[in-house]
Every structure is written in C-alpha cells, then in structure tokens.
Subunit: 283 residues, 2 copies
C-alpha cells in the first residue's frame, strides 16, 4: 500500500503545541479522507506517544478537537492525539437510502464491510488499525510503538473492539459511553446486517462484549458512562460489558457517572482522567 503524503489544510497554535488538520488519499477506503492531529510541545524535541480518538455517529474529525478540551491535558502529558473521520466520504460513497444518521456517511462503525453497496469504501477497521497509523508514524514525530486508543459511543465501540482484537498493538484502551454490544441493540442490528450480512456469527468480531469473553491478553481498560444518557438502556448496554468482564475475570474499570448525559460536556469533564490513564501505560 502506498500512502500519499498528506496535505495540511489547517493549523492552530494550542497550549504550546499545534492543532493540525490534513487530507490524504486513502487506498484502503478508496476515497479522500481528512484527519486532525494535535502535536504537544514535547513533539518539538522528539517522538511522542499517540492516542487515537474515534468519534461517534454524525461526527467528523473536528468535533473532539473543538469540544473536548483535550489539548490542555495532552500538552501536560506530552501525548499526540489523532482524530480520524468516522466513515469514508465523497460523492461515490454509499449512504443510508433514507439519509438516516446511523448508517452510511458519518457512521462507518469501524468495521470492514463485506456486503454491497458498502464493501467498496467502508473498510474503517483496516483504515484505523493499519493505514492511518502507518501514515502517522511516517509523517509525524510520534513513537509508533507507544499507541493507545479511545472513543465515544460508536467510537467507544470502535476503540474497544479494535484494541481487544489487537492487544499487542495498544498499550491501553478507554471509552466514553460505548456501544458495548452491536449484537444486542437496534443500531447494531441495522448497521451490521447491512455492512456484514445476516450471519450474526461474523458480527462477534466487532462486539466488545464477545471479545472480552474471548480475550487472552488483558490490557488496561477504562470506561465512563453517564447515568442520564438517553441511549444507555436501549443502545449502549453497559451492563453486558460489566457482566462479561466478571465472567471472563477481565478487570475492566467501568465507572457510572451520576447525572451525565451523552454529550461532549460529559467527555470534556472526564477527558483529563482518560488521558492520565493512557499516560500511565504510554509514558
């Protein structure tokens, strides 16, 4: 796979470091993609570890950059943060036929689609795990051996499943209000039946609850979930993750946060603790 050099399309000084934005041609996704990267001041002196952040439904690479307030804490710890987009993009990319927000554009679900019309572009699992890190490691002052991953909602599902399937590649994983089990919620039913087909056995490779049960290696896991989150009962199913961890004797730290909802105000409140959690594994 040959990666094009990414083209810088944005730069802002932030907490002594730089908040940057790039576009590049993705071979895996077969389209042009945009990502954001925060380089802390420490990156001027040598390679820094990297945290990948996967956003939720309807987001692109910028929501976390503008709303989470993470740069302050990344600058304190000396950690870069990479924010990919949430799906392939562009005129030729398939979208939900009804224009719904929960499938298609902005809703890649971090899987490799096998079904039509999705398979041509919707390969977000490979993009996040392989293509994008290869590009980041080549083009930026980061240490490709020290990588962690986090995300929100659909991106929490992405972070957990990608890290649990590849524990040798990540030092730690965390999630805010993750979709814990696509096998057991309406979002999963709709999207995975479209992207992966009706054989639900194939869905297990993208289900954090199933992967926890099978995990051979126990990397550090932190999950925060607000109790006032409107999606908690029907879509997120945090209780399945709790019980899976207990059954598998996998020590996951899952914190129920009273009164917090599904918004970026929730993420902003606890992002400092997540970055410190990852710093303990990365530094």
């Amino acid at each position: 796979m040959v990666s094009q050099t990414p083209e810088q399309i944005g730069t802002n000084q932030s907490f002594g470091g730089q908040q940057l934005r790039y576009k590049h041609q993705s071979a895996v996704l077969n389209c042009e993609m945009t990502f954001s990267i925060y380089l802390p001041p420490q990156a001027q002196k040598g390679p820094v570890p990297v945290l990948y952040w996967l956003s939720g439904l309807t987001c692109n690479d910028e929501n976390f950059v503008h709303k989470a307030g993470a740069q302050q804490h990344a600058a304190e710890q000396g950690i870069a943060i990479v924010c990919p987009d949430t799906s392939p993009r562009g005129d030729g990319v398939a979208d939900d036929p009804d224009g719904a927000y929960d499938m298609g554009l902005g809703a890649g679900f971090y899987v490799n689609a096998t079904q039509q019309p999705w398979a041509e572009h919707y390969q977000m699992y490979s993009y996040i795990l392989d293509e994008l890190p290869q590009l980041i490691n080549k083009e930026f002052p980061v240490d490709g051996e020290r990588i962690s991953i986090s995300g929100h909602s659909m991106g929490g599902h992405g972070a957990l499943t990608i890290a649990l399937k590849n524990p040798q590649r990540f030092k730690s994983v965390s999630a805010f209000a993750p979709i814990c089990s696509p096998l057991n919620c309406p979002w999963g039913d709709k999207v995975l039946s479209n992207y992966l087909g009706d054989d639900r056995h194939t869905w297990k490779y993208y289900d954090a609850v199933e992967l926890i049960k099978q995990a051979q290696q126990h990397l550090p896991v932190l999950v925060d979930q607000g109790t006032a989150d409107n999606f908690l009962t029907e879509q997120l199913k945090t209780e399945l993750l709790v019980s899976a961890g207990q059954v598998a004797d996998f020590p996951i730290q899952i914190r129920m946060q009273p009164d917090y909802d599904h918004s970026y105000f929730f993420i902003a409140t606890f992002i400092a603790e997540h970055i410190k959690f990852h710093a303990r594994a990365l530094l």
Copy 2:
C-alpha cells in the same frame, strides 16, 4: 422594566455543575433572546460570583460554551459564567443589507444604536449592563455584587468599554484579541457610522482607547493578543491600547502571545489564566 421568567431550553451536567441554556423576552431589545449560564458545583451551597462573557462577530451564546473549555476552571474557582447572544434576533430585526457578517445579526457591537433601522432593537449595551444582570441576579444563585466581564474580539471591545464606563459595577475586566479602537479600524467605521451616525464624537463612548485615557478609576485589566492573529494590524490595533495605557498611567496587563491566532484554540489556551485573574478580584 418587567422581565419575564426565562424558559430553560437546555441542560447538561459539566464538571460537577450545570451548563444551562434559556430563552426570554427582552424588553430592552424588543425581541426574544437566548443565553447560556454555567453554574459551578459551589452554586448548590449559596450565591457565587459571576463572569459575563461577550462573544465576537458571527457567534451566539453557544460558541464559548462548546469551545473554550472554561467550565473546568469555573468549577475549580466557583464562578458562574453567563454567555449572552451577540445581537438582537428574530424576523423583524434589521440586518446588513448585503448579509455581511460584520454588521447586523451576530454583530451588535455592544452599543445602543441611535440610527434607523437599528435603534428599535440594537440596544446591546443596556441589555448587557442592566437588563440581563437584573434577570440573572433574580433567577439564579449568584452574588450580583461580585461581577466581572470578559470577551473576545468584538466581545473584547464590549467587555472593555462596558467595564471602563462602569468601573463601580465590575471587579475586573479581561479581553482576548479585542477590537481596541472602533474609531480607528474598518469594522468600527462601517458599524458605528450605521448604528450611531456620522458624528464621531459619539463613538468615543464606545472606544476602549478613548475610555482608558479618560478613566478615573483603574480596575484590574488583562488583555491577551496572539501575534499570528490575521486581524491584528488592520482591525484590532492593540498598540493603541498599549500607548493609551502608558499615556494615562493606567496599568493594563497586555500580553502578546507568540504564534497564537484569532481562534477559540487561542482562547482555550489562556482561559484558565483569565478565570484565575478574575477569581483574584471576585473571591
């Protein structure tokens, strides 16, 4: 003036406090207005001091709420933050005839307009100084005797001019990249000639540089300005504020911040220091 009880239209838990949003009928502006208020956790135990934040051109009450990361620091210090909108709003409210971003909707410039078609609604100076604080003091657990004010760009101009004209009402004032002298920049020429008319003597009451020169009372003033700000040379004219402070022997703290631009990344980087600056005057 009788203020309607404001109607809550948004609530999010944030850093142990609450980020709230309200709409209300403004008698002064003669239209419905929206504002946001952050109540820190300390407000559950009794009245807290208040910082008013005035946003810049094109903004409404939400930009600062989502992008500045101020709640963390307001919660640490126990200070409420009120974010008004930047102009009157609604179908009957005059706007720039060409739809330009720098006059009309989103560009009230925190003055009381005397000219048509603006005078009917564009009374932002009185709204910010009188009507909104009266409503806030009545409806929320805040201490109306401990008020400070800050803002960005057009809002920095608003904060400086309102506080300098009313030093007995504010404990401190700060600004990010303020428009220092509407008398001496294209934005000022265009907007104040429309809102106030061609007699430039009337503009002096809304010009921070002129007000600094005439100030009898020296309240604490902090200004941050990025050196990579695209508006610095033509519109902001920080150097006029520096020299006015020197001529008037008014000790203004003006800090030029290398490489920072006009964006919210700049504000987010230094908002903690501004809130601590105000806390020293308020607590």
